[in-house]
């Protein structure tokens, strides 16, 4: 009885394997997941490239704007002006959501020896400051910050120092540091797999109107 059943199954399996009807449909069914992955993956990668391009545009356009802050004879910039420039430039990200977008602007000062001045002289407004905009909230932060190798690489540029600028703690010239960070979530992968891809962009740019920028909260009080 069992032997006959086995023979029956073997014969049936053989017939099933030899049967060529529906081949195209089966092949299409096998290829479908690959094609679906191709479509969704292609869409996700291209969207990511587009978003990254918008992020880079946001960074360079903000850098262009903050570099015009400060005027000859009035090197002070207001904390509020900084915030306004940062929030105005967020519209570049559209139609990508600005949720998850963080904008950071800092200032790196250099002394007469082209050495970056960082984190010294607490009472002086010459200390490098960093502000971060997250949503609509502006906060003064310590990190993120440009790395020592990045700031040291800038000092090689050796720009003409301010007239009469001497010493190691007096700023002679400065660079704005603009960084944007964004968490990209693909339409499909972000919703069903929880996939998120962090991306950052940064630019260093020199103030165009003055050599050194001083940040103040109200025109006189250092940031």
């Amino acid at each position: 009885m069992i032997a006959r059943l086995r023979q029956h199954i073997r014969r049936g399996a053989g017939q099933w394997l030899r049967n060529l009807s529906g081949t195209a449909s089966v092949e299409f069914a096998i290829a479908l997941p690959v094609m679906a992955a191709l479509l969704l993956g292609g869409f996700a990668v291209t969207s990511m490239v587009l978003t990254y391009r918008k992020l880079c545009d946001t960074t360079t356009q903000l850098a262009d704007m903050v570099s015009q802050l400060g005027a000859s004879g009035d090197p002070d910039i207001l904390e509020k002006d900084l915030q306004n420039s940062m929030s105005a430039v967020t519209s570049v990200m559209y139609p990508a959501s600005t949720t998850g977008l963080t904008i950071t602007v800092g200032l790196v000062d250099f002394n007469a020896a082209n050495t970056p001045i960082q984190g010294s002289a607490p009472t002086a407004p010459t200390t490098m400051w960093i502000y971060q905009l997250n949503g609509s909230t502006l906060t003064k932060v310590v990190s993120p910050a440009p790395t020592a190798s990045e700031t040291n690489a800038l000092s090689v540029a050796s720009l003409p120092p301010t007239s009469g600028c001497t010493g190691t703690t007096v700023p002679c010239y400065s660079y704005f540091w603009v960084q944007t960070a964004y968490t990209f979530q693909p339409a499909f992968g972000g919703q069903y797999i929880g996939l998120s891809i962090p991306m950052t962009s940064q630019v260093f740019i020199q103030p165009r109107n003055v050599n050194v920028i001083y940040c103040t909260t109200d025109g006189t009080t250092p940031c």
Binding site: L39, D64, A88
Partner: protein
């Protein structure tokens, strides 16, 4: 029963009932025939396959157009920013700035240019908080469709006016374009947006 009899359904040839039975058997055999099955299966799958490939190509085109529009917007904004476009004061004059940097398959009459200008970053930030809107530049009256590129100045969109470029002015330039996709007719319309934010250069305004 001979083979011939089996094929014809048996019985004496010419019998009405037997001829009907033979015809039914022939029809049944034609269902079992596998000749041309691949063609039939391909015909079944082909529409779905070609739709799929078409969707992929449409996605590529859409995203390519997004990139191109963003580039054209930044370039047009740069002309305004550097004072190269100080005479721009009408929509008709502004639209070519964007259009000049777009490939020929863009229909420039469908562009919507939105320029918001402000004297300070704070005013610009305030304007920026107003909802970004797209206004269809085409109107149909008495069966005739007319497309007019719109330019808005400030938070209120007032077609036909634009503030000429002025030194140290802050600006947000947005360019909208309705992508002409096949899926538009099925409710999958897509408005592409290019945006640039800048402060106009402090170029000299008086000639000596």
């Amino acid at each position: 029963m001979t083979d011939s009899e089996r094929r014809t359904g048996g019985g004496a040839p010419g019998h009405k009932r037997d001829r009907g039975l033979a015809a039914a058997r022939r029809r049944f055999r034609s269902f079992l025939a596998e000749t041309g099955s691949t063609t039939v299966e391909f015909a079944t799958i082909a529409p779905l396959f070609f739709i799929w490939v078409f969707v992929i190509l449409q996605m590529c085109l859409l995203l390519f157009m997004s990139q191109v529009l963003q580039t054209a917007t930044v370039k047009a904004g740069r002309q305004y920013m550097t004072g190269n476009a100080t005479t721009v004061a009408t929509p008709a004059a502004f639209e070519p700035l964007v259009c000049a940097n777009l490939p020929s398959f863009f229909n420039c009459t469908n562009l919507v240019v939105n320029l918001q200008t402000a004297s300070s970053a704070s005013a610009l930030a305030a304007n920026d908080e107003t909802p970004l809107t797209y206004q269809d530049p085409c109107t149909t009256t008495a069966g005739v469709t007319t497309c007019t590129p719109e330019v808005c100045s400030g938070a209120t969109c007032s077609p036909g006016t634009v503030t000429a470029s002025a030194p140290e002015q802050f600006a947000i330039l947005q360019v909208f374009y309705p992508a002409p996709l096949i899926g538009n007719g099925f409710g999958f319309g897509n408005i592409l947006v290019g945006t640039t934010v800048f402060q106009v250069e402090p170029y000299p305004t008086t000639s000596s």
